[in-house]
Symmetry: D2
Subunit: 305 residues, 4 copies
């Protein structure tokens, strides 16, 4: 298997040349555009990997999954449904027009920025700090990595350039979708986007989802089964920004990408997969990362469809 992964990395590394690093958050521009790595964890906790698996990157939008899991755990689905939908959209991840034109002001799904910001308000916590710690603690649990840290430089950069997110949040506050302090909620959002991870960390999130909530290494249930299925469904329809539909046809795995270059993918009952490749395509997804997953899906016949 490691041999297969090695070949796939080699076959697709040249794709890193065709993408570009995210620069709208200045600190992200420092990433290595040529990095490419892949990490698999299976149900027996075997690990396979190839490429730049030690590259550290900020988790960015992949954190939306963790926040969504926490909200689904802490708040009943009916209440959540009044705040966010779970419908895919072809709009950009930071679109605000859809809040005005469609869906009576509700964010269309928790994988776009508006939805993720609203999701944070549904997580348990008497204070904003408690909300953040609740999510961050769960992050460490599900990755089995108690040493996760926030990348301070990226967090500061996110916060100082986060005006589009402020616009989304204030819009939702003006329509009664959220009620909390905008800067406090965004502070949590920016911090969660700035968590440093490697491929292995996100592969470990993936394998828990693949195993419907039970960590293969501990046999401990850390997520409810019904929540795992909701999350994988939403990843499948909404996880890859405006390229979600195309990804479903070519790769066919529930997945979530981040502009830090990571992709978390899940093969139900088989694998959790983490990929890193900071050079992005026009939709904001790792360009070579998608190619790696496409070849992997094809060679091992991993599409869920």
């Amino acid at each position: 298997m490691n041999q297969v992964l090695q070949e796939i990395i080699e076959n697709n590394r040249s794709w890193t040349e065709k993408g570009t690093i995210a620069t709208y958050i200045p600190e992200l521009a420092k990433a290595n555009p040529h990095a490419l790595g892949v990490y698999l964890v299976d149900m027996q906790n075997n690990e396979y990997f190839a490429g730049d698996v030690h590259t550290v990157f900020s988790i960015q939008s992949i954190s939306k999954i963790i926040t969504f899991i926490c909200a689904l755990t802490d708040t009943d689905f009916n209440t959540i449904s009044k705040v966010i939908s779970v419908e895919p959209t072809a709009d950009e991840f930071n679109s605000i027009a859809n809040l005005e034109i469609k869906n009576t002001n509700k964010p269309l799904n928790p994988m776009i920025n508006s939805g993720a910001i609203a999701t944070i308000t549904l997580v348990k916590g008497k204070t904003y700090e408690e909300k953040f710690q609740r999510i961050f603690h769960f992050f460490k649990l599900v990755t089995d990595n108690p040493n996760l840290t926030i990348n301070e430089a990226i967090y500061q950069s996110e916060s100082s350039t986060g005006d589009r997110n402020r616009s989304l949040a204030y819009y939702m506050k003006s329509t009664g979708i959220i009620h909390d302090e905008v800067e406090e909620i965004l502070n949590i959002y920016f911090k969660l986007c700035s968590i440093n991870v490697t491929c292995k960390d996100i592969a470990r999130i993936g394998v828990v989802l693949a195993n419907n909530g039970i960590q293969p290494y501990s046999n401990q249930r850390v997520i409810r089964k019904d929540i795992c299925q909701i999350v994988k469904a939403v990843m499948s329809t909404c996880g890859m920004y405006s390229g979600s539909g195309s990804f479903a046809t070519t790769v066919g795995m529930p997945a979530k990408s981040g502009v830090g270059g990571g992709i978390l993918a899940v093969v139900p009952h088989k694998f959790g997969i983490g990929v890193v490749g900071p050079a992005l395509d026009a939709s904001g997804n790792s360009i070579a990362g998608i190619k790696v997953l496409t070849e992997l899906s094809s060679r091992l016949d991993l599409s869920i469809y």
Copy 2:
């Protein structure tokens, strides 16, 4: 299994009271709103069913799948990608605004009306009649039902009230997405929507997709495997109109609905499923049909996620 299906039908029949028959095509208004039936075919060609499985209904949008399969068979994917995308949308199935505002005029996917109309132009045929016969013949093959007929009254009704579809088609002609005669292409579209089927017919389409293209009763390959995966992926992200995301979280099967009340669902490697229930929810999906599939998915653990 028939016992389970029987219980599910009984548990959910009262939901038919909460929906409404489609009336925008006058002829559809004649359907029986209380009908509810379900039909399963498995990989060994065993058949299970309960409820109103003899109810005949017009296939409507479920035909979009058949047309898409024919286009994928006759035209290479690269060429298709220049005409239609495969991205889900939260817009209505007959939306025209997205052709103007988004995606440089391309229909977002082949499951909405604009996309389905464009798909027809990609099917092989020297004449419009040949195009129609090519799709209709494939319909009979994949349902294993050589006796399929067009419901003339519905076809006339579709055609005489099809001005929104004319608008979509002329818009696409004005932007160079389609080049054919609008009335000829729509004539094929209206006819395909008007094919009379029962649950069994659509379950048989489903089982071929579940089996990646090989009919379980004949062992004959009738669809390429890669095409089956593309089609199931698109059904999963776009098949249930503006309720596709919600359906993925509650049922978790590739599916396609029609305003005639049918739902075709696929459990890969396991079942093709046909449901009928003409009373519709606000998204245009069979309201009780979704409930039947929800309970079925839950009791037999059929979600692909």
Copy 3:
């Protein structure tokens, strides 16, 4: 005055180099891009002119004014208000998205294509031919030119490339805004756009509006006063496509432009003005024509504001 006009033409003729001829209707592409002419008629029926005043051009969207006057004459304003609004829009003249998203499907105003098409259905006439003749006859009356003709080549070209207008019309038919035969209504629309005129013809329409409905040369009332005021108000807010607001600030006259290169402008109580200059700006207005009107307005202090 002729001296002033001569200077203004000379000062602005170089602007014709910066514009482009409309080409989406192939026949329009044959116009002379360098032509520039201006024609004034005052309340005493004095005529002043300079430049290419003999250039014949198709009236195009300027005909929307004539159609609107006929509809206002034949149908009470209350009934008209149920079919079209009189609100300006920043959308393109052929936009269809606004029919779906805004204003409950009503065209926003009679100066954009959707509104003009709907306006035709409000003109008196038992047959489509009668409707056309009613408008065409009024055209000849108000221009005092019984020899007006349809440019057959342009009419054919409009009709064969008019799919966007077909899309608009079928959309409105699907939402009950119009009830007539689409091709028949469009046939009238295309013919009216194809009327051959010179600057003098449109200046003569302008002077009737300037004089609140009475022809200065005959003292005959040909338009009701209240209708003149409605039409000039709508020209002021909607007459110059997506450049209407800018035109109001720089020129300050009720005006209507056409992609044939004509601009009809009105200085209430003073002048009717016709301009020709087929090279267009990005909004579809005569680029040098606007400059001529800007200088004229400034030198003679003609802004109504």
Copy 4:
């Protein structure tokens, strides 16, 4: 004349029953819905009035005119044009979708909220306090009322419920339309909306615009003539929210309304007019105020068209 105004107030007072007080800013809900008053100032500084001319109300959006005049005075039109357009729109005054979909992120005009917020950034002032004082001072000058005050309760209410405006401002900051501190700019915006005025104050602004910038009582020029014409043009196309086009056809005067119930109208070379009537129609305009202006325009033949 006072007799005519008296009759007009009486004829239209019952219209106040059909409207509703603005309540989205809680403090506005305290206004008297039955109030109705009108005030005219002519070029010889004669004053005519009838009805509740002593009713004090907050100026709200009418302040957008004053801000726009200051910006036009302090910044050249070319620079302004890079930040805001002057194109009318059928969108709501607080629409954000048009910033995303149209016009490359520029606010469409200075009379909608986004445009007005951006306009403030174009006013001279080394500090935010200087910017505010520059506009407020001009306010006192042009109304000839040195005693104008801010309504503190309304200002606090505006600020605490101003999240939609925060959303607009942060959106524009994210796209580089504005560069200042959002809360500082909005602070100015909220204060300017909260200025207490009477009909007389706004009639006095109107008469200066009617007289192309010269105060009739002092013969002092307080606004450049070209700026007056730009402002009146923009009022004519954009001043009455989404009812601007309709107002042009029925009243035909440059005007600007505010949700406090005021309307400032201008009859060039003749009158400045102030109306108060806090009961609003669906577009946010004084419902009886429009009726008063409609009758006044009709009886005195005041339409500019």
